[in-house]
């Protein structure tokens, strides 16, 4: 049995406390009055020199926080045509727009971090189900680590849904503008989608997803423990687990797609992409596998997993390598198809990202593709723990930035920065994640000894 070490518990609680303080600070400093934003913009303009003036004039928005659509461009053209008349109006609109962006930042920072840690747990749950459904012979020694990580699925998903709903109910529609009835009233495109994108239906869908995932997790865990205590020839629990894993994978691939439309894609309600669900899946899958590898190596370094050997690490690292490339394939396929055809209503998605997020947008490709490609290509390096840890940390940072790039351009636009609200949100959820996962790890022996494949897995070598 694993005991949650005092040191680690202190670290996780400290992370949560410091993170919570930073999050509160972020919310307290994000409510700026109209005049404050006005002076701030004036200061910025004087720093940038005269060139900025023309730029701000062209930067007109439709509605409040809506700035990624083609009406934006129409408006901008109209506005430029009679710029003299509307200068004052525009100025007010611009200031209000920036005011909203600043107010959105702590919400989005919280949401990005919450989603990132939740998606790790969900990715691990999918990986775990695949191991069962494919009757993998190498991985059963890692099942308890995976079960520990998936304990975060339920709280993590509820938090993500909670923040999404709270941003509309408590906040001022800070993440999802389609929740704002005023925006919808003036927006034909969102009106057309409102039978799908409306708050009650959003909440119900979210709860159905969460219920399905948590039910699978609950029963898989239950059968796994029951199999430990069962007679040596009694594989009934394993068979049940096998069946529900197959069923869950079908449910998962549908709900994961819909979850990505709901929780991520709808921050840009004018934009859509068919590939998006897969793309988010690849991101969560590779982050999940990376976290399995990191926690396995941590526990192994404490001598708690004597049955895990180099070859298990090698296999995990191979998965990290392969799914990183799979992620890149989907990222590039989505980007290249939109870049190539250059249709205005969908290309704005990448135009805003390229204009305002150049470093994170391109940096994440380096971190999620080039780095793992070169580091994890060599077969010998995949067996060296510190090498895999290094690659894993870079991959996780890269996928945080991936989620950041999906949410932030729609909510804070060019007012982004990775500062106190972002870092403290990461700390808050990292602490919570560690606390939940390592607490779950103490609840059962670290070797799933009843699994019929456990002997094969213990002697696995590659």
């Amino acid at each position: 049995m694993y005991t949650f070490s005092k040191k680690l518990k202190t670290v996780s609680i400290a992370l949560m406390l410091i993170g919570a303080l930073g999050v509160v600070y972020g919310f307290m400093t994000s409510h700026k009055s109209f005049e404050e934003v006005e002076t701030m913009l004036a200061e910025e303009a004087s720093h940038h020199g005269g060139g900025h003036e023309a730029e701000t004039k062209a930067h007109v928005v439709a509605g409040d926080t809506d700035h990624s659509d083609n009406t934006h461009q129409d408006n901008a053209h109209d506005a430029l045509a009679d710029v003299e008349h509307h200068a004052a109006d525009e100025h007010a609109e611009h200031v209000e727009h920036v005011q909203h962006q600043i107010a959105n930042r702590p919400w989005s920072a919280l949401y990005v971090a919450a989603f990132f840690f939740f998606m790790i747990a969900l990715g691990v749950l999918a990986f775990y189900a695949i191991q069962f459904a494919s009757q993998a012979g190498w991985s059963p020694v890692l099942f308890r680590v995976m079960e520990g990580i998936t304990a975060y699925v339920l709280p993590g998903a509820l938090i993500v849904l909670g923040i999404a709903v709270a941003s509309g109910v408590i906040g001022h529609y800070n993440i999802f503008i389609w929740m704002d009835p005023e925006v919808v009233e003036h927006d034909k495109l969102i009106q057309g989608k409102s039978s799908f994108l409306n708050l009650p239906w959003f909440i119900i869908r979210g709860l159905i997803f969460i219920a399905g995932w948590s039910l699978y997790r609950h029963f898989a865990r239950k059968f796994s423990i029951a199999q430990d205590n069962a007679d040596i020839n009694d594989n009934r629990n394993f068979k049940k687990s096998f069946r529900i894993a197959a069923g869950f994978l079908v449910f998962y691939i549908y709900t994961e797609s819909m979850m990505s439309w709901d929780w991520i894609m709808s921050v840009d309600p004018h934009w859509f992409s068919t590939l998006f669900g897969w793309y988010v899946f690849a991101s969560m899958f590779v982050s999940g596998i990376t976290v399995i590898a990191l926690i396995t190596m941590y526990l192994k370094s404490k001598d708690l997993l004597p049955f895990v050997n180099d070859s298990h690490l090698h296999d995990l690292a191979k998965f990290m390598f392969a799914i990183s490339i799979f992620w890149t394939y989907l990222w590039f396929s989505q980007f290249m198809l939109i870049w190539y055809s250059n249709i205005p209503e969908e290309v704005t998605y990448f135009v805003t990202r390229f204009a305002d997020y150049k470093l994170p947008f391109l940096g994440m490709v380096v971190m999620n593709f080039v780095f793992p490609l070169l580091v994890l290509m060599n077969s010998d390096y995949k067996r060296i723990p510190w090498f895999v840890v290094m690659a894993g940390i870079v991959i996780l940072c890269g996928h945080y930035i991936d989620v950041f790039n999906m949410i932030m351009p729609a909510t804070v636009g060019d007012r982004w920065y990775i500062g106190i609200p972002e870092l403290s949100s990461i700390m808050l959820f990292a602490g919570l994640f560690m606390f939940v996962v390592f607490t779950a790890l103490t609840k059962a022996p670290l070797l799933a000894k009843g699994n019929p494949f456990i002997k094969e897995s213990e002697h696995f070598h590659y």
């Binding site: 590039f332 980007f335 290249m336 870049w339 190539y340 250059n342 290509m377 077969s379």
Partner: protein
């Protein structure tokens, strides 16, 4: 080169072969060659063969393929005749790069795969009309053959091989140098 003598020990089971290899190695005899009808897992390790470097060669070939793709398309599409084709930006390579990535990828794989296969053929001396080097046709079906050079110690070597479970031990004159 004068005709050398070798001993051929024939086995009918890969597990017996593996233990025989370990035994022969521990008695410090040099194994010239082993002929098997299928890959025997762990045989290379037991014989003490060096790991292959073909993956490294393949990586280098892939890099060459990538370079070829970049240089080729940079010359054709950007330098030689930078036409406006459907509004694609042909001002510099990087601006139009996404359109070139499928070709860059395919040529990398093409070079890596084909040159690696050719390297394999060259290094293992395989080509059409090549005379088969098989000392005993049964080794392509269900027998395993271990070849050891002898230097006047044939009696003790033969008894050692018999001991390890060889079903046949033959003394063979080998005239071709290899």
């Amino acid at each position: 080169m004068e005709a050398s003598k070798v001993i051929h020990a024939i086995y009918t089971d890969d597990d017996v072969l593996m233990s025989a290899v370990k035994r022969v190695k521990s008695e410090r005899y040099h194994i010239e060659e082993i002929y098997t009808p299928f890959p025997v897992h762990g045989l290379d390790k037991a014989m003490g063969l060096e790991p292959t470097r073909i993956a490294i060669a393949s990586f280098i070939y892939g890099c060459i393929g990538l370079t070829v793709a970049i240089v080729m398309m940079n010359f054709i599409m950007i330098e030689d005749w930078p036409q406006n084709i459907g509004g694609k930006p042909s001002f510099s390579y990087i601006e139009n790069m996404p359109a070139f990535v499928p070709i860059m990828f395919e040529l990398t794989v093409f070079f890596a795969a084909h040159l690696m296969v050719i390297t394999f053929y060259l290094r293992s001396r395989m080509w059409p009309f090549k005379k088969a080097e098989n000392p005993d046709p049964r080794t392509t079906d269900d027998h395993f053959l271990m070849e050891i050079a002898i230097h006047g110690n044939e009696a003790e070597l033969a008894s050692l091989l018999k001991e390890t479970g060889a079903v046949e031990v033959n003394l063979v004159d080998k005239d071709e140098a290899h």
